[in-house]
Subunit: 125 residues, 4 copies
Amino acid sequence: MKTSVGRYTWAIAEGYIPPASTGKSRELASHETVCILNASEQDARVEITVYFADREPVGPYVFDVEARRTRHLRFNDFEDPAPIPVNTDFSSVIVSTAPIVVQHTRLDSRQAELALLSTMAFAAD
Amino acid sequence: MKTSVGRYTWAIAEGYIPPASTGKSRELASHETVCILNASEQDARVEITVYFADREPVGPYVFDVEARRTRHLRFNDFEDPAPIPVNTDFSSVIVSTAPIVVQHTRLDSRQAELALLSTMAFAAD
Amino acid sequence: MKTSVGRYTWAIAEGYIPPASTGKSRELASHETVCILNASEQDARVEITVYFADREPVGPYVFDVEARRTRHLRFNDFEDPAPIPVNTDFSSVIVSTAPIVVQHTRLDSRQAELALLSTMAFAAD
Amino acid sequence: MKTSVGRYTWAIAEGYIPPASTGKSRELASHETVCILNASEQDARVEITVYFADREPVGPYVFDVEARRTRHLRFNDFEDPAPIPVNTDFSSVIVSTAPIVVQHTRLDSRQAELALLSTMAFAAD
C-alpha cells in the first residue's frame, strides 16, 4: 500500500450553501462539504481559502487532518475567521502540508426530497 | 498560498438547459452553470465557445473574472452573440488569459423536487 | 481558440440503464448518456466498447462526430452490434481518431422525481 | 483498441452509507458503490483500504476483477475483515495489480425519491 496518495493543492470552483432545509436532522440538513483524505503517514495541516464574486477572499480556515484519517468538513460549520454566508456563490482553494485527496459534495434538502452532487476537486499541483 | 492555481483551457462535454422549471425563484429555476475561480493575482478575460450537434459553434461569449474572485455564470443568461436555446444538447470550451479552475453544475427543477449534477471540467492544457 | 482540445482514449467505469421510467417524454425517460465534444478541425470516428461483469465485451459501437460538433449519445439507443441490457452493470471505453472530450451523465426517472449524476470520463492517454 | 486503459492506485475521499432506504428492492436500496473497470488483458487483484475520521484504517478488502470485466462493488456488502458502519464518514484507497479505472457512485433513497451522485475517483499514480 502506498502511504502518500494525493497532492498538496486543490481547488473547488463551485460553492453554495443552500439557505434552507426540509431535513431536520444534521444528516439531512442542506450542507456543502469538502471531504479530505490523508492516507499519508504524517499529520496534515490544511488551510482553506474561500473566494467570492464581489469581495476579497476570506481565510485561511485551518484544520488538522491526522495521518491515516479522513475528515468531511462542512462549509456550513466554518467559523474562524468568519462564517460563510448562505445563498452566496463561492469557490475554495485547499493547501496541505501533507499529500491529501479532496472531494466536493453537496446535499440540498431545500425541497422535501434531497438532491446530491459530488466531484473530485481539481488537483492543482 | 499559491497565487496561480489553475489552467488556461477547459472543456465541458455535457450541456443542456432544461426547458421548464417548477421553482419560481432565480435560485430554484432550472439552470446550467459554469463556475469559474480565478485565484491568481491577475484579472482574467474568459472566452467561452459553445458547440452544437448540428450547426457551427457560437461565440466567443466574453466575461471578465477579476483577480481573487469567482463567477458562477449561467448559460441561461448568455446573450451575446446569441442566446443558447433550451432543450438542446451542447458543449463548451473555456479559454482564459489567466489560470482558472472550472466546474460544471446543473440544477434541474422540471419536476417538483430538484435534481443536481456537478463535475470538474476537463483541463485541456 | 485552440482547435484540438481533448484526448483520444477515455473510459467510464460506471454504467447502468435504469429499467423503468416515470417520465413519458424522451427528455424525461431514464437514460445513460455519453457526451462527446469534438472541438477539433477534423471529423472523428469514435469506437465504444462496452464491458460487463460476467461476459466478454461487446463492440465496437461506431459513431461519427463531425469537426466542431458535439453528440450526446444514449446507451439506451445502442443497437449495433447488440442492444445493451437494462438493469445491468457495465463500463465503457471510448477511442477516437481525433481528440475529443467525454462526459458521462445519467437521468434516472424510475421514481416520480428525477435524479441526475454526471462526471468527466477518465482521460486514458 | 488499447488493452491497458487505467491506473494502479485510486482514491475516493467521500464515503457514506445512508442509514436507511425507502426503496425495497436491491436496486433502489441506498448504496455506496465503487465501480471498477479492468479493460486490460490480465486479471486484477484489487485491494481496498477504508479510512475513518477517528480510528485506524480497515482493510484490505480483497476482490478479483477478471480481464475485460467490470465489477460494481457496494461498500454496503463489504464483510471481510469487517462490515463498514452506516451513517459514518469514510474514504477509500484502491490498489490494483493491473491497470483499472475507478468511479464512485451513491444512490440515496432515504427519502421517497432517490438522489444520485457520481465522480471519477482520483488517479493517484
